[in-house]
Symmetry: C2
Subunit: 388 residues, 2 copies
Amino acid sequence: MQNFFWQNSTAIIFGKDTVKDLAEHLKRDGVKGVLLVYGGKGIFKSGAYTQTTEMLTKAGIKFSEVNDVKPNPRVDKVREGIARVKAGGIDAILPVGGGSVFDSAKAIAAGSCYSGDVWDFFEGKAKIEKALPIYGVLTASASASEVNGFAVISNPECEIKTSINSPFVYPKVSVIDPSFQITLPQKQTVYGGVDIIAHILERVLDGDEGSDLIDEQGYALIRTMMRVIPELIENPKNYDARAEYALAGAMAHCGFLSVGRRVRGDFSSHRMGHSLSMLYGIAHGASLSIVMPAWARYLYEENPVPFARLGEAVFDIYDGTDEEKALDAIEALEDFFKDIKSPTTLREVGIKEEDIEKIAANASRGETFGTLQTLEAEDVLEIFRLAY
Amino acid sequence: MQNFFWQNSTAIIFGKDTVKDLAEHLKRDGVKGVLLVYGGKGIFKSGAYTQTTEMLTKAGIKFSEVNDVKPNPRVDKVREGIARVKAGGIDAILPVGGGSVFDSAKAIAAGSCYSGDVWDFFEGKAKIEKALPIYGVLTASASASEVNGFAVISNPECEIKTSINSPFVYPKVSVIDPSFQITLPQKQTVYGGVDIIAHILERVLDGDEGSDLIDEQGYALIRTMMRVIPELIENPKNYDARAEYALAGAMAHCGFLSVGRRVRGDFSSHRMGHSLSMLYGIAHGASLSIVMPAWARYLYEENPVPFARLGEAVFDIYDGTDEEKALDAIEALEDFFKDIKSPTTLREVGIKEEDIEKIAANASRGETFGTLQTLEAEDVLEIFRLAY
């Protein structure tokens, strides 16, 4: 096991009808005005908007709004939020939504305390050294943005979707009320679930020996996700399944699956998936169920062990060599994605074969990446070909 | 799953040769003088004392010492520490040791900010509202005191060993260097391991439906402990096994196994075990391997389900009714305790049959307790008889 530093001080208020409990935290911290950040109509349907604004009004806290944050959120909306904060009267950011909204809120929180342009952080031109506090209300689990310091933002000008990770943008308090997720479209439950599974796989398949204990925690998280996603397809109102999903989603990417590893995880699939989202607006989860199996098939023969262990722990595959188990595990994973109707090929989402080179170039950007196996430009190209 | 609030902001510095990394935290927080709290000679043998004092000297931080903290630590030593703090020059407490030392440090940290006697907190006469910050160096995993707000202290005057739990006494930073534990006596590794297993069992066997996901995390923790304890008996210098043990120990009782449960766990065994430690100085872990199987045998027939689930997940027991699986699981657990040479009867530790009533009365103290099954005075007596 490798040495590590761990701290995650985000407070979680978890459960039914808990938005109201956020008031005491805001008041205790002396918050007078917040910027409410949200996306589309979902939060009106689920009741999250009403509950949040009523809570604020009752607590005597002023709020202004930035809305219409899109999936694969964009930097122009972040800049709009920063401008609102700089106009005054706001001392905290309050995202109400899923990962896109939380990610935007983080970028706004950091950008509001910086004199330059917020994209500097994403290009590595500047480092976050301060941010407004974030108090969030989660309405869709997937990114675990509610419990971590990551934010993924797209910049259409340069066609790049990329991320920051800073201790300054961990939400101070996150409300996770799983009942808000009952009204989500089925596709979002499926794609969010794929994203959560990817966050776990990107640790247990990163090629680092890390900690057996942490791997076991990861396998248990995957088993839970593979149980509750079909349950939620069957009955979206199953509160307990929603709650397990929301809890697993937060645990998958709060950082604890990275402890003891030499690397924090192998996020190659996320990086390649981002290109599909950036160039074609493919839903994030869908991009992952397309890319991950292709990535796995491309390199499992050289690296069978982590796939074989996954096969044993998650799919009860005990027969054969490690290489055979590995292939069986990859097929079982792909079958699961098919069963829950998440796409597993580029073809299915209407991407043309002649676009593959462009996509691969967008993912590589002249850099190599990956830890289980370092991916050069030609590897990335080959993976996208396999995904076709 | 029940609603819950979660926050654990303790920072963990984990791994080999990491004591030196504590300096930057102390300096950043402006600490000028600390009270070093420790027990016996163990920290000289392991190198923890030298590394800590060198780190402090290099960082220009003054320190005075309170030492000779005993296992099952006592309130008189805590009062000694408080008097030292009140004499001036100390703005943080720095325990170097295991659970007893951390627990004493917490009581000193809270008692130093209180005008009355520290035992008031343990009797429920006063509530902790403030404490000095705690920066700890762990040298023996078991209690998870390094990552939680619990402190268990004994008061010989009234023959009571009892606990506090406060958000104000979570260590600010804990250094967990598993290599310090290589020099521990084998008995301590065994008893610490039993304590860690008990912390997990007290959640998964608390009779609350809680969260399947959390139960699975708990089972994985127990499987890890049952793997590494024998590995460490075989080879105490196995660093990776020490690291998994230390990580599992922290995770078992940092609070996360309690999320989603109606209760925080059923700590009946701890409470009954405390009486054995208080009255006879029985090592804490030994008291648990004596009490837990008896507690389980006493009530599994009425409550077979959690024991049967444990049997499946930890001991691969799949045959029979839930009641049969439950009994097999209890026997397997008891066999494990015997294998690692932790006592499972009162007789083995030299306690006489005629003392049982006195022990039971000390544990009950006119109160009922327990969540899987509420224990009246006569139940407690019967459990201690079974443990004989």
